[in-house]
Subunit: 324 residues, 2 copies
């Protein structure tokens, strides 16, 4: 059985070995740049872990695993344009370092490359893997659109928010695990359980991200602290706060959301104070734990030795206690 | 044997029958919008024609054919953002009618959908079809990048220009024909000849487009007349003119290219006068005919009855004499 760190090493090595042409440089330099940024490599690692859990040959899963990482980075490149994000993993985003056109076209190219890597799945499961990959890719696009739509909407429910993050973030983790299972030849029932494990962990992961944006250490997190607050981003924290807030606090929160000339640091502190008063961090953490536990139930339901599940259980726990 | 018009009807019907969800509307409305714009549907028609030429079952080629049309429209949606194009087929481009973010994300979604349609190729040729599709998609991205790079470069040779349009435009027509051939089970040699036929026709097609922009009827062509001149676009005409122009005309042409405050209609007329003096239209047409003839040699080399090649020959001739 491999440790998470060993799989991560395998993935990093695989990414380093990916070959891209030099010309045209504006097309391929940004691809090399974004893939070299340090990341958790969660999705490819999950493919390999799941493949091993079901007794598959992880060598056969490596290219599709790398394909998911390339796909994920393609979505980051395009999302960062749409979200006007200046930083990604503490470094300049591609559209900032180059420009939007470069980020659009390099992103498109990465998507094709992710398909090429995914097509290296074995014949026995090729159609299943590709169908899941394409279905997931569409859902990720839908999730990003819902996310942008929410920014324009007055009222968003926590249910709608969780559906959105399920699409935008969670289904890709779920697909990573299911692709590993498909390559290993797992049963349909096991493949579904590992998918749902991933989806629930993915939702919990995003809720953790929302919490970290406000309550995390900016240096460790690699993004602007309180960036979501500054951008009025409808996260679990803000949506919960908007549902609960009353009286003078309601007026104050509304003012911070509409006044776009406010001092950023002052705004972060003031909104954080309202969050604290309403204990929204607590509510978000409870919801996170609920999803974490649902994930564990799905993992428990898979008929393989409990010992083999340890790496996935550790991985999930790590995501919940992480500081970045 | 089917007439081009019959295949076009089949394709239009196939596109109408493609089903897209309603939600989120900002994701799917632009897809319905761009696919409903009237177009030549060249790529899918070529898939079907080639499949029939080699005695294949055109029903099996329909979904991949539609996939190529969806892919082509995805590239238009993204190219139009990058090129800041206001019009496409006489209608507002997606990023103009909605906004750039919508055009980025709807385009991404279309790309996935094109993969899903392409995956409906028969098992017998699935990997060959997908490999060609992905290779071509990368080349199309490289072609678009080269096209944008050329706009920043002082000196572009006609050779480099033809390589660029080969990637940006021609390889997709070539791939359409080869995909039809692969689905029909054509020999490797025939598949290569039909690919090269398509590539040469594609180059000739783009040269015709360059000529039409300046010398075509704007109403029929569906784009701004002289739009390429106004935008200083390095077409075959401008590149040839820049290679040949001397003396006072050289100064004048340079002035029109650097003065961005000029009256558009006046600029088009003045640059056109220089083009006429240098007879660049004639040179571009000769190059177009040269590619057309190379295409015909490849078609001739395919060992099927000459009569069966008539639709493809007609199609190629139609592209050369078209006014739009």
């Amino acid at each position: 059985m491999h440790a998470i760190s060993e799989f991560k090493k395998t993935v990093e090595e695989g990414i380093r070995k990916l070959e891209f042409p030099n010309d045209p440089p504006y097309l391929y330099d940004p691809i090399r740049y974004i893939l070299a940024l340090e990341g958790k490599r969660m999705r490819p690692v999950l493919v390999l872990m799941s493949c091993e859990l079901f007794g598959g040959d992880v060598n056969k899963a490596l290219s599709p695993a790398l394909g998911l990482e390339v796909f994920h980075n393609f979505t980051l490149m395009h999302d960062d344009i749409m979200d006007k994000a200046p930083l990604r993993r503490s470094k300049a985003t591609v559209h900032t370092k180059w420009n939007s056109n470069v980020a659009i076209l390099s992103g498109d190219t990465m998507f094709v490359q992710s398909c090429q890597l995914m097509m290296q799945a074995p014949d026995s499961c090729l159609r299943d893997v590709m169908n899941l990959f394409h279905k997931t890719a569409i859902e990720v696009c839908e999730g990003q659109q819902l996310d942008m739509d929410f920014e324009e909407q007055q009222h968003v429910t926590t249910e709608a928010y969780i559906e959105m993050i399920s699409f935008k973030t969670a289904v890709l983790l779920a697909a990573a695990l299911k692709i590993g299972a498909l390559i290993a030849g797992a049963t349909a029932s096991s493949a579904e359980h590992i998918y749902e494990f991933g989806r629930c962990i993915g939702v919990a992961f995003q809720l953790k991200d929302d919490i970290l944006d406000v309550y995390g250490d900016a240096d460790k997190f690699g993004k602007l602290s309180g960036g979501d607050i500054i951008a009025n981003k409808k996260t679990m924290l803000l949506i919960t706060a908007l549902e609960m807030v009353q009286g003078a606090d309601k007026e104050e929160l509304k003012n911070w959301l509409t006044n776009n000339k406010s001092n950023p640091a002052e705004k972060v502190q003031a909104v954080k104070n309202i969050f604290d008063k309403l204990q929204v961090r607590d509510i978000a953490e409870k919801e996170m734990v609920r999803y974490f536990e649902m994930a564990m139930h799905h993992l428990d339901a898979i008929p393989v030795a409990d010992e083999s599940k340890k790496p996935l259980r550790d991985f999930a726990e790590l995501l919940m206690v992480r500081e970045a």
